[in-house]
Symmetry: C2
Subunit: 289 residues, 2 copies
């Protein structure tokens, strides 16, 4: 196994099926002003949430190989579906480069908040895409983390919410229509009365007010972004890999057209992104087969 | 230019970004019991509707090359987005094999119905994905067909309806939620008072009752499937290429997993599809670059 790369100017790679991971990138950019960040949005293959695990694995491998060719010092899988199906594949390909993925970060944060609340009958709700929910990755990860900490495994209930992604991408974050969609998905979840609900898709934080309205008052919504930022900082500092001077570059790469990425990302982040590059992820040299 | 293939047992190729084109395939299967039909659903890259034209062209070229390797005698582009952005590319690649696409068929049918109604101020509404609407392919095609027939160009209004595809795929075809989504998109269209409205996406016929409720009573909804069937029959008969004996095979190929295709298609057509094959459309030999 190679040693960890130690050049602090090496970039951090962040990827998602599309623009959802920008909610993570934004927080990283704010917290780590000196780091060079490379974001890859695989819009040509978006969304991952309804696709088969082996297909998502193939896409994630292509992106990981590309990021490694850019000599990244750390990879953030900023897509719950990719974390759920391809997290292990990315880790193996990338080693010894450390890989952080949103599922483990979100699950850990949910348990932390539950402990803080100190409820006797802990209940966690999990919202995600069809592929993430079917994979069972959140319940598995929560069980694993609870065992590791020697605490009881909380009661869990999952709900797939396929319309949330197109609602978020259309900018329909609040209003009568999103409220009705949220009630459609969350009536059973409301009855379950969870203390915390994991927003298990990077698009969902945009709908957080709408989601909160459809759940019992006081339900804590868990986003993975703050936990990801904390873990990235910790890993870089402990390994002596943190950049500490200069203004960090942010590069955006889209596997679909640059225009499409700018249009969607602009609506999504309410800002205009100037420097977006095209990237061909299907190029033969990037393929495994 | 090669001569047209004349072996009547050669298959007909039908493709779509996913399962929407099955609404066309179903009608072809019913009307042409002796024909061998090959359906390709490009689920790995689905949906096309929000992607850039050059990306969709690349996907459509891969599929066309695959169908040509199967010696098809005719190709049906059963996806409005692919018709809008890659119709010409597919035609050039396939020549001399004839190519029919849903946009021209739907536009012609809309004009035919308008003529039948004999209204003085003809108004056509067009519903489609974001990419289809932005392409302007329906207004362009309607203008071209009207000019060719020497009739006045009708007034036209377009509306993109991005949530209709996930609603259709989730099986949410009727009810309070689809009604609200339809009203959200169609309030302006209702005020326009079109005599005919083109369902410019192969998913939309599943929502036709909901769409009808959001429009003025009596609005005629135009699907492309019946027009496609009529044209396919005509072309095959005129060229002496129609199969007239035996039971026609139906082959399904999915670029995502077979399970995903079966699950979505089953929900979509309310039937179980046994023979679904996996197809790798990203394979290098199929690539242009």
């Amino acid at each position: 196994m190679e040693a960890l790369p130690t050049d602090v100017t090496r970039p951090i790679g962040v990827f998602d099926s599309g623009i959802g991971g920008l909610t993570i990138l934004k927080e990283l950019r704010r917290a780590l002003p000196h780091e060079h960040l490379i974001y890859i949005g695989d819009l040509a293959h978006s969304p991952y949430g309804s696709k088969a695990p082996e297909t998502v694995k193939r896409f994630a491998s292509q992106i990981t190989r590309h990021l490694l060719s850019r000599k990244v010092k750390l990879i953030v899988v900023a897509c719950n579906t990719a974390s759920a199906t391809a997290g292990e594949t990315v880790r193996q390909l990338a080693a010894p480069v450390p890989v952080l993925e949103v599922v483990e970060q979100g699950a850990a944060e949910a348990l932390r908040v539950l402990e803080e609340l100190g409820e006797e009958e802990a209940r966690i709700g999990i919202l995600g895409t069809e592929t993430t929910v079917t994979s069972g990755i959140y319940p598995d990860t929560i069980r694993m983390l609870a065992d590791r900490r020697g605490i009881p495994v909380p009661a869990m209930q999952q709900q797939a919410c396929p319309l949330f992604v197109p609602l978020a991408e259309e900018g329909l974050w609040e209003g009568e229509l999103p409220d009705m969609v949220a009630r459609h998905y969350l009536d059973d979840m409301k009855a379950f009365q969870p203390q915390v609900v994991i927003l298990g898709c990077t698009h969902y934080p945009l709908l957080s007010r709408t989601i909160a309205r459809a759940l019992p008052a006081g339900t804590r919504l868990i986003e993975s972004a703050p936990a990801v930022v904390k873990s990235v900082k910790l890993i870089l500092e402990e390994a002596g890999m943190a950049a500490t001077t200069g203004e960090g570059l942010t590069e955006y790469h889209a596997s679909d057209s640059v225009d499409t990425f700018q249009r969607l990302a602009g609506r999504f982040l309410d800002t205009h992104l100037d420097l977006v590059h095209h990237i061909d992820l299907d190029a033969c040299e990037d393929r495994e087969e």
